[in-house]
């Protein structure tokens, strides 16, 4: 096989441009010109120089409203939540805004790295909110809402004032206040080309010593015994034939889980409507046996046994207060599907 780029380029040339005709004419009947409307519909990316950014604006105040309605359930009211995703806001200072380097990134004892600690280009934030948020309804925000939510996040980190209105006209100036705008480098050898400058040589140069190599074979880290079952019973994760078996790491925890599964099966409960839970994005906020944004299905089942009607109503209407501060928004789900999910919950939420 050829490995040098030059050799491959030559091979590519021979293979795909075998004669002089340019590729446009070589494959007649394949592909067509995209219409301007088609390109506009899909070409939504925004670059660091803000090429691609649509004109518009949004205020911090408007951003707060959108945030509380559409973002806070996953990210927390102040972007600080670690419940579902890593915290977005926090860890930056006014001094970082001046210097363009986030001081906490130098500390090895600082817990976690928020999005705004890492953000070096403002286009990245705008583009990602626009293309992928909210998580379970991506591309549903208006241009104004994207500007507004971006402004609200920047305000939480004191990058812009409370009365700020972010727009395509001032976004480049705000870029100059990003706390980590000077915090990235491309001086490394891990980009496969010369486009970014970079370095020719890898940063770590090891040698292949073969005999009596100067190493201390002292074990410095291994899993503690209490974590033996943290990844389940390893005996069940290895083939049952061959030179070795998986170690039996089944402990009390694993046994209890197995028993509870059997218990649920024995009651002959309604089967889990996994298709509906998936289709309606219930799984974005709820899980079977642990709290995510909302309560676990097991906890709901325990609290409301036999109350299918009540639960069907709550699923469609939403609510807040019963399970903590984070509200459950009203769900656009058919009555029939809500009833199916509710009956499953009311009958014990068997997995």
């Amino acid at each position: 096989m050829c490995t040098s780029p030059r050799a491959l380029a030559v091979a590519a040339l021979l293979l795909f441009a075998g004669f002089a005709a340019p590729a446009q004419e070589r494959f007649p009947g394949i592909g067509r010109a995209a219409t301007p409307a088609e390109v506009k519909a899909w070409d939504i990316d925004v670059r660091p120089d803000f090429q691609g950014l649509p004109a518009g604006s949004g205020s911090v105040a408007r951003g707060q409203d959108v945030w509380e309605a559409k973002c806070a359930s996953c990210h927390g009211v102040f972007g600080e939540s670690n419940e579902v995703f890593n915290p977005l806001v926090g860890g930056t200072t006014d001094e970082d805004i001046r210097s363009g380097r986030v001081a906490n990134l130098r500390r090895s004892d600082f817990p976690g790295r928020t999005t705004l600690m890492k953000l070096s280009t403002l286009s990245t934030l705008w583009d990602y909110i626009n293309r992928a948020m909210p998580w379970n309804q991506p591309k549903s925000l208006s241009v104004e809402e994207v500007y507004a939510v971006t402004a609200y996040m920047l305000n939480l980190a004191r990058i812009v004032p409370d009365d700020f209105v972010l727009s395509e006209r001032n976004i480049a100036q705000v870029q100059q206040r990003l706390p980590n705008r000077n915090g990235v480098t491309t001086a490394h050898a891990l980009w496969p080309g010369q486009e970014l400058g970079g370095k020719a040589r890898p940063d770590v140069a090891a040698t292949a010593c073969m005999a009596n190599c100067p190493v201390e074979t002292k074990v410095t880290s291994m899993l503690p015994d209490f974590a033996r079952n943290a990844h389940g019973n390893l005996a069940e994760q290895n083939r049952l034939v061959g030179p070795q078996r998986g170690a039996n790491t089944a402990g009390t925890g694993a046994k209890l889980a197995a028993q509870s599964v059997q218990g649920a099966a024995a009651t002959g409960a309604v089967t889990m409507p996994a298709d509906l839970l998936q289709k309606n994005s219930c799984t974005a906020c709820h899980a079977a046996d642990r709290k995510l944004v909302g309560p676990s299905w097991t906890d709901v089942a325990k609290k409301h046994p036999g109350r299918g009607d009540y639960l069907a109503g709550k699923i469609r209407a939403g609510g807040s207060g019963a399970w903590g501060d984070v509200p459950m928004p009203p769900q656009a789900i058919s009555a029939e599907e809500a009833v199916r999910i509710a009956e499953w919950l009311a009958s014990g939420a068997a997995p």
């Binding site: 130098r106 073969m210 034939v241």
Partner: protein, 452 residues
């Protein structure tokens, strides 16, 4: 069956005997007593029960031999199942333990998450498509190929649209390449965090991919390759994953717009019906559900090039656009979480790969890195593809630390963890290609360890 096997292990665990030859003393006495009375059918039943109790092992009586040989099994005496019992065949029921799995506690949602390939149970270099590791950022979809479109725009003469039918009419190539997540082994930067090679290295898979070289499609649109030195690839799913791809790599002909995987179409979890294949580069750049590429004159600093997939250095700077997966290897047999059945011969085997080219050599140590031997490389050895290696080893029952160290054809040698951490610190997360150490304890149990 598995639990019975474990109960046969001697409690001290000094030497793990395979349960072959084992039958409880009571059973032996009874079998022989009954046999003397001529009750052959009872004898047969007792042997069958013993055989079942030891997970298919051979419970052997002193005189006659192995009942797995002496007592013809049902499959030798009956009629088997018909063709097309299942229009798409599945693995044996006895292979049920070989599954891709999530690492508990790693992610808080199942849609923005990872499942790891069971490297400890795979042979050769190809990952069965159903065991290919998964990484989704906003859940996966099974997209109708008749409604999927592929667009080329940006610095091109004519922006173009292709249907799947049209992409598949073009001349295709099929090539074997590994794909590794940039965060593979990321949980192990600071200390040991997971027990088995499925979790330490399982964000790694290798397939034969079939598709059209991207450069062909760019040329069909009349791309300006002089000015357009970067390309944005974008997915059609909710996350609309975007990554910047270097034009030099595309020009080499290596980057594919792929629809085939191991002889069939891509699996939905792996991007059906269309994904980008960027050999040697971390998996996040292999954009799934590929809907669009845009030619441009500067990189895009997308979310997964700015907030994630950036490598934090000790001085607080992040390395951006770190893409190549450097030379790396791991012993998959024996590996963490396994138990050797006895002393004696073992074939140490594992996988080696490099994002810069071919694997040139792999060395294996069983004494924690003091002495090394050349492993055999199994043919074929291909560029930016997994290479299988193996080495003979006789285990004497004493503790051993098994390691592998790969060298690629650029001369780059896979580093020890301390060398990597010496340059990049402990908080880098991505691109951990350190030498992996497996401690074989006297009990035969293998543990994931870091050594000084």
């Amino acid at each position: 069956m598995r639990t019975e096997r474990v109960t046969f292990l001697p409690p001290s665990g000094r030497l793990i005997k395979a349960p072959e030859h084992f039958i409880a003393p009571d059973g032996v006495r009874q079998v022989f007593a009954e046999a003397k009375q001529g009750r052959r059918d009872f004898l047969r039943g007792a042997f069958a029960a013993a055989a079942a109790g030891v997970a298919g092992g051979a419970a052997m009586a002193q005189t006659e031999g192995d009942p797995a040989i002496l007592q013809l099994p049902e499959h030798s005496r009956g009629l088997g199942r018909p063709v097309v019992s299942d229009g798409y065949g599945k693995p044996s029921q006895h292979e049920r333990n070989v599954q891709r799995r999530q690492s508990p506690g790693l992610t808080q949602t199942a849609q923005a998450s990872v499942s790891f390939a069971p490297l400890q149970s795979l042979f050769g270099i190809v990952t069965p498509s159903g065991l290919h590791f998964e990484r989704h950022h906003q859940g996966w979809w099974d997209i109708d190929p008749s409604k999927h479109r592929f667009m080329v725009n940006g610095l091109v003469k004519t922006p173009k649209v292709f249907t799947m039918d049209e992409v598949m009419r073009l001349p295709s190539v099929s090539r074997f390449h590994f794909i590794e997540c940039g965060a593979n082994t990321g949980m192990e930067w600071g200390n040991v965090a997971v027990p088995t090679c499925q979790y330490t290295h399982g964000m790694l898979s290798c397939s034969e991919f079939t598709g059209v070289p991207l450069i062909t499609l760019l040329q069909m649109a009349g791309a300006d390759l002089k000015k357009g030195r970067f390309l944005l690839a974008e997915g059609a799913d909710g996350s609309s994953m975007t990554r910047t791809i270097p034009m030099s790599l595309i020009e080499s002909g290596e980057v594919l717009v792929a629809y085939g995987q191991n002889g069939e179409m891509l699996r939905p979890e792996n991007g059906y019906p269309l994904r980008l294949v960027v050999p040697g580069v971390q998996g996040v750049s292999w954009v799934k559900y590929l809907r669009r590429v845009e030619v441009g004159d500067q990189p895009w600093a997308t979310k997964d090039e700015t907030i994630h997939y950036v490598d934090l250095l000790p001085d607080g700077q992040h390395r951006q656009y770190t893409s190549i997966q450097e030379c790396k290897s791991v012993v998959t047999t024996p590996s963490g979480g396994q138990v050797l059945l006895d002393r004696g011969f073992y074939s140490i085997t594992g996988l080696a790969w490099s994002g810069r080219g071919k694997v040139k050599r792999v060395d294996v140590s069983v004494d924690g890195g003091r002495n090394w031997r050349n492993a055999r490389l199994q043919e074929p050895v291909m560029s930016k593809c997994l290479t299988r290696f193996n080495l003979d080893w006789v285990w004497d029952g004493k503790p051993a630390i098994i390691q592998s160290r790969a060298t690629d054809d650029t001369g780059y040698v896979q580093p020890a963890g301390r060398q990597l951490r010496g340059v990049r610190g402990t908080r880098s997360i991505y691109h951990n290609n350190a030498i992996q150490s497996w401690l074989v304890q006297e009990s035969g149990e293998v543990k994931n360890v870091h050594i000084a």
